[in-house]
């Protein structure tokens, strides 16, 4: 910014786009300068992804003009846009599960001689790129399907970086990355900037955007609300512009007296990801679960819920001294547990089915007699939850795949509330969800605790854990590394606990004691 003003690399003006039933963009202007990060912010459904997809040639605008480096730019399709150096790393993973990491990265241009792939060269070049994005420990010949979501996202980003480009659009690149992976990504972005690449950056994480963006454009309901240099917008400005009203950022929780234990877990072990985990949750309490990705947080919850088999360990419910038998999810649900999975589309929702069928699924017995479903009762019930959680949908009969991420997540929550559980496990409940919906979900969790439910919340977002939870347990390499209660934690303490087992492992055999 100290230099002469960077030149305009890309310009779009008066972009309109409508889909059946919604006007996704109306009269939106957008420009991008060389070597700058231009962030797009807005709630889900605000039009960020649509705008980016139009720029990347995936969608066609209904009207409006675009120009690239001064020339008129009308991409016929994605390939056409890519040949002009405009690339997009999408929110939904775009990898081929059965191919290796290296094959995925170079899928468009596999190094080959006489049609036979040169695997040595392929894996070598892939390794170079992977090192850059921090996939240091990963073998390029690993099939992608064996990786976790976060690692897959890094591969996707590496693939995006592998190709020469003038404009790189990143749609929610950090949604499932750990802090250290995010740092590596930012370092890469900085390098691309110096090379003169223009970067379009979409994210819900405002702090992150404030850090790396040069300029910020805010969209709401398909309209351009503001485009300003990043250093002229505070975080609360951004939130206000995005949702069009003010939000209190202060404590969400009214302190509640926590009651008797709702769940005690002793020595839970499963495979290599869950090692001898012991903890308890009380009624009225929100227990946070922190840890790096791959630290066994999700696996612990899955084992607890019976989704994965436990090798050993005991689970006690309520005040009972007799361990509960939980060997499959239906056992857990019968014991009034609920589990909102980290991956709502793959594991939580019946995407092509109506909202009402998704909500009623957990307890069809409540709205049926002799196996016969009372459809009108089901609709009333669905409407009740749609109103209570303010789920934005056209009717209870709308299919969930047409809803935005935040509203989809609310449908999953409604489904579990309907089963009337005592213990609720939420795994990354706010991933990929806009700020407005995020706060609504926080409020729901707080309310559940106030009603005396026991809530467990797994999250990669420390800030949200620290503002919502009564206690935070930290997992590291499959073990419970530490548990902190409110007022006794700090970001540093939690992070060092999260790394503790990895450090211990590298010192070989030195066993760190859990500081409970």
């Amino acid at each position: 910014m100290m230099d002469a003003a960077p030149e305009i690399l890309f310009n779009a003006s008066g972009i309109n786009k409508s889909f059946p039933a919604v006007q996704a963009l109306s009269e939106v202007d957008f420009d991008l300068k060389t070597g700058q990060v231009h962030a797009l912010l807005g709630e889900n459904g605000a039009g960020k992804s649509t705008l980016t997809r139009i720029i990347a040639g995936i969608e066609k605008p209904d009207s409006g003009r675009m120009s690239l480096a001064g020339h008129s730019y009308i991409p016929k399709n994605r390939t056409d846009a890519e040949s002009l150096g405009i690339r997009m790393v999408m929110q939904e993973l775009n990898l081929i599960a059965d191919l290796t990491v290296a094959e995925n990265i170079f899928i468009e241009k596999l190094p080959a001689r006489f049609g036979i792939i040169d695997y040595n060269r392929l894996n070598r070049s892939a390794k170079e790129l992977m090192d850059k994005v921090g996939l240091v420990d990963l073998d390029p010949s690993t099939p992608v399907k064996l990786l976790g979501v976060g690692q897959q996202q890094m591969v996707e980003i590496a693939a995006g970086l592998s190709r020469q480009c003038r404009i790189l659009a990143l749609d929610e690149p950090t949604a499932s990355l750990t802090d250290s992976e995010i740092e590596l990504l930012f370092a890469q972005i900085a390098k691309l900037k110096t090379a003169g690449v223009g970067i379009i950056y979409i994210s819900h994480r405002i702090e992150e955007v404030a850090r790396i963006a040069d300029r910020i454009t805010i969209l709401r309901d398909g309209r351009l609300i503001a485009t300003q240099p990043a250093n002229q917008l505070s975080i609360s400005d951004i939130i206000r512009l995005m949702i069009g009203r003010d939000l209190e950022y202060d404590r969400l929780r009214h302190p509640v007296k926590t009651g008797e234990p709702a769940l005690r877990v002793a020595g839970l072990t499963s495979g290599s990801k869950v090692k001898n985990v012991t903890f308890e949750v009380r009624r009225g309490e929100i227990l946070g679960v922190a840890g790096l990705m791959g630290s066994g947080r999700t696996e612990t919850m899955r084992t607890l819920f019976g989704a994965d088999l436990a090798d050993c360990g005991k689970i006690y419910l309520g005040a009972s001294d007799k361990p509960a038998k939980i060997r499959k999810p239906s056992d857990a649900v019968r014991n009034r547990m609920a589990f909102l999975t980290e991956n709502r589309k793959e594991q939580g929702l019946l995407l092509t089915q109506p909202v009402r069928c998704n909500i009623s699924l957990t307890k069809l017995s409540d709205i049926s007699r002799l196996g016969w479903i009372n459809i009108s009762q089901e609709k009333r019930l669905a409407v009740k939850y749609i109103d209570a959680l303010s789920i934005r949908c056209s009717s209870a009969d709308q299919t969930v795949d047409q809803l935005s991420g935040g509203n989809q997540q609310k449908v999953v929550i409604a489904k579990w509330l309907f089963s009337d559980p005592d213990i609720l496990i939420f795994d990354e409940p706010t991933r990929g969800i806009d700020v407005g919906a995020k706060f609504e979900i926080y409020r729901m969790l707080a309310e559940l605790a106030e009603k005396g439910k026991a809530v467990i919340m797994v999250s990669s977002d420390l800030k949200e854990l620290m503002s919502l939870c009564d206690r935070i347990m930290v997992m590291s390499a499959g073990r419970l590394a530490a548990t902190f209660s409110r007022n006794k934690w700090s970001e540093e303490k939690i992070m060092s606990a999260a790394f503790s087992e990895y450090v211990a492992a590298s010192k070989k055999g030195v066993n760190t004691k859990n500081d409970k």
Binding site: P20, T362, Q402
Partner: protein, 321 residues
């Protein structure tokens, strides 16, 4: 409220409207091109042909909805028909007992399919392909590869008629109605659709998908052996070669009806329309003197066209947001 209700009925009708129009078009075309198409004989022929395949198609619809497939129905029909024949002719069992033995045979085949599929988490395609061979082999074994003539004792089934409609046809229509009701109104039906849409989500919602899947495969074979009773009655005999290619005919009918091979979507009534379309096509073409070769060429094109049309329809129904 009335507006909403009207549009609900509207979408309900449009689901079947396309199928009804296609069927009506076929009837008109054949009515114009064949001299004696609109006669009682034609419709009696069709009504005689369709009951067994209709009943199989109901079971197949369920299997496809849970994202499975059952290739063994043709052989299971032959085997359970053979058991029926043997029970009547060699053991002289009374008809109800013979039918019970026939249906038990079907149930056993379905149970085997389901157990292997669920226990070892195998694709139903492979397992039922195995059963296709096994049941066929067993049918040859029990009949010693001969056709068993039954005659009188079994013909009561086809000879009974109510209001001019044959008993098998009435049974088939009732099974279609019941099947549609089960699918769209019961907990079991809802679970089927849910499993076909996303089995893992169903499991993680605390519903064990295994009993549902087991029931669906058993039900499919059970219905097939029920169809075998009707088929055997129509032929007055049990032939171990019967039902060759039945699985593909049934799948074709179900797919023409718009049921997705990917699971999660389907309708029993539409499958019935699919059966009728294929039957009318076959009968009509025969009447205008088309040869077997032409019949098959055209039937093939109809199957593919139906799926293409269905894809456009579902794309229209689902706007991108």
């Amino acid at each position: 409220m009335t507006n909403k209700k009207m549009s609900a009925i509207g979408t309900y009708l449009t689901d079947y409207f396309g199928m009804a129009v296609a069927l009506a078009l076929l009837l008109i075309i054949f009515g114009l091109s064949a001299r004696n198409f609109f006669t009682l004989t034609t419709f009696r022929t069709i009504a005689n042909q369709v009951p067994d395949i209709t009943i199989v198609a109901v079971g197949m619809t369920f299997v496809l909805i849970i994202a499975g497939i059952d290739l063994s129905v043709g052989s299971v029909m032959a085997l359970s028909g053979a058991v029926l024949g043997i029970a009547l002719v060699e053991f002289n069992l009374p008809l109800p007992f013979a039918i019970a033995a026939c249906i038990a045979t079907g149930a056993l085949c379905g149970l085997t399919n389901a157990f292997v599929i669920i226990r070892w988490k195998l694709p139903s395609f492979i397992v039922t392909l195995g059963m296709l061979e096994i049941a066929r082999g067993a049918a040859y074994l029990v009949t010693q590869s001969r056709t068993i003539y039954i005659g009188g004792p079994i013909e009561v089934i086809t000879d009974t008629s109510v209001l001019g409609l044959s008993l098998p046809f009435i049974i088939a229509v009732l099974i279609v109605a019941a099947g549609q009701a089960v699918l769209s109104r019961t907990v079991f039906g809802r679970y089927m659709i849910a499993i076909g849409t996303n089995e893992e989500a169903v499991r993680l919602s605390g519903i064990d998908p295994r009993p549902v899947k087991l029931s669906v495969f058993v039900l499919c074979s059970l219905l097939t052996s029920f169809a075998a009773v009707i088929q055997t009655a129509r032929m007055s005999s049990a032939n171990p070669n019967t039902g060759y290619g039945l699985e593909l005919q049934a799948i074709a009918a179900v797919v023409i009806g718009g049921t997705s091979l990917m699971g999660g979507r389907g309708s029993v009534i539409s499958s019935f329309f699919g059966v009728l379309i294929i039957a009318v096509l076959g009968t009509g073409l025969a009447q205008i003197g088309a040869q077997e070769s032409t019949k098959r060429l055209i039937t093939g094109c109809v199957i593919i066209a139906a799926v293409i049309v269905d894809q456009y329809r579902s794309r229209l129904r689902k706007p991108r947001v």
